[in-house]
């Protein structure tokens, strides 16, 4: 391990920067907190010379602090959004192991991170189609009939296209979820008014299943179990607010629809 010693201050700074970048990339693509912290620690402690390494990650920020020859190096990054891209997580994980076990230069590591960050395994329209197909099959598995499943497919496809076309950077998760829920339940309700849906609840639930914060909530409880209280709280609050957005969107549409039906 003697070859892996850090030469000068510039290299130490570059290493901390690399670790922060890796951690941010993992968090944005949906890795768990303990995995992010482990990976960053592995990266930083693979080169001799840094002391008092401390990594704190939550779902909204990353903090790294370390000491090199008496000087403290600190980096803080804010993480604004999270999506799920498991291909990138597994690639980043493998990359960190490779970096820790070989005398790779930091410049080369950065260019390899660029490569991983740029790659996208599947095209967006294929992902949309698979989401629609999965949800419509899921409606069948929950004892819906073929009509519900078809309406779910149509609603989810149109909803995803609508969200993709109207996306802009100022719209945060709450509005995104609310608008998605309104559009998808509106399509289900329109089909229902023509008598093409047997179970309206099931069709709506199928259409918005991928907006559900169930995975976020489960991960939050896992963080609580792993004694990661701050991350757990952030996940819990996010799950509650996402559910509020969905409930509001669907509630508005279904309430108006029932009022309209009664008045007719």
């Amino acid at each position: 391990m003697e070859d892996f010693r850090i030469k000068d201050e510039i290299e130490a700074h570059a290493l901390v920067k690399l670790a922060t970048r890796l951690g941010t990339c993992m968090l944005i693509n949906g890795a768990e907190i303990y995995r992010v912290e482990d990976t960053m620690l592995r990266l930083l402690s693979s080169r001799k010379g840094l002391e008092e390494i401390e990594v704190v990650a939550t779902y909204s920020s990353i903090m790294v602090s370390s000491e090199f020859k008496g000087q403290t190096i600190t980096k803080i990054r804010k993480v604004k959004e999270r999506t799920f891209n498991l291909d990138k997580i597994s690639k980043l994980n493998n990359f960190s192991r490779e970096f820790a076990q070989s005398p790779m230069t930091i410049f080369k590591a950065n260019s390899e991170l660029d490569l991983i960050a740029a790659c996208l395994p599947y095209k967006t329209h294929k992902r949309m189609l698979s989401a629609s197909l999965g949800s419509s099959v899921f409606v069948l598995a929950m004892n819906g009939d073929i009509k519900d499943s078809f309406v779910t497919f149509v609603a989810l496809t149109f909803g995803q296209i609508f969200l993709e076309k109207t996306r802009h950077s100022n719209r945060k998760y709450f509005m995104e979820t609310l608008i998605g829920a309104v559009v998808m339940s509106l399509i289900c309700v329109i089909f229902h008014s023509f008598g093409m849906v047997t179970h309206l609840d099931l069709a709506i639930v199928g259409a918005i299943i991928l907006l559900f914060p169930g995975v976020v909530l489960t991960n939050a409880v896992r963080d609580f179990v792993n004694a990661d209280m701050v991350s757990g709280l952030i996940g819990l609050i996010q799950a509650i607010f996402t559910a509020a957005a969905i409930g509001t969107g669907v509630g508005i549409v279904v309430k108006l629809y029932t009022v309209w039906r009664l008045s007719c």
Binding site: V205, I209, G214, L217, K255
Partner: protein, 151 residues
């Protein structure tokens, strides 16, 4: 009965592999994801039929975690890759949504019931996965310990 289970297996295989595709799982391990998710869903269905509500979630998540952990060792990838798509069909998103929906509709007692259900289910699933990860880690660390004295 048998036909029902077979159709459930086929449907969940398709659904879970579609969700896995949506989450950008590498193409090589898509079938393994589908298998782990299907095992979880089958556990869940069997225990639902036996009227063991929360145990179904716990053991379903345990099955997903166990199979996911096994595949994670085999392909040298993080466990999340195999677990995330599998738990999408059983996570309590629907209960959370019903909570907020009932609050908006003014049915507070039903909303409270759903909220309690959602938190209990989330607890069951996370305990199941944590248990599976713990079991897998214990087994694999035992193997390592056995190897060291031989050298």
């Amino acid at each position: 009965m048998l036909i029902k289970y077979i159709s459930q297996i086929v449907l969940s295989l398709i659904a879970v592999s579609c969700f896995a595709f949506y989450f950008n799982v590498p193409k090589k391990v898509l079938p393994s994801c589908a298998i782990s998710g299907t095992i979880g869903w089958i556990f869940y269905t069997i225990f639902m039929d036996l009227n063991l509500y929360y145990l179904g979630f716990l053991l379903g998540a345990f099955g997903i975690g166990l199979v996911g952990g096994f595949y994670a060792r085999k392909y040298k990838m993080p466990t999340t890759v195999f677990v995330l798509a599998g738990i999408v069909p059983i996570v309590p998103g629907m209960n959370l949504y019903l909570t907020m929906y009932n609050v908006i509709m003014g049915d507070y007692s039903q909303a409270f019931r759903e909220a309690l259900k959602a938190s209990l289910i989330a607890g069951c699933i996370s305990v199941g996965i944590s248990l599976a990860v713990y079991v897998i880690e214990t087994i694999s660390s035992n193997k390592v310990k056995k190897k060291i004295p031989l050298k």
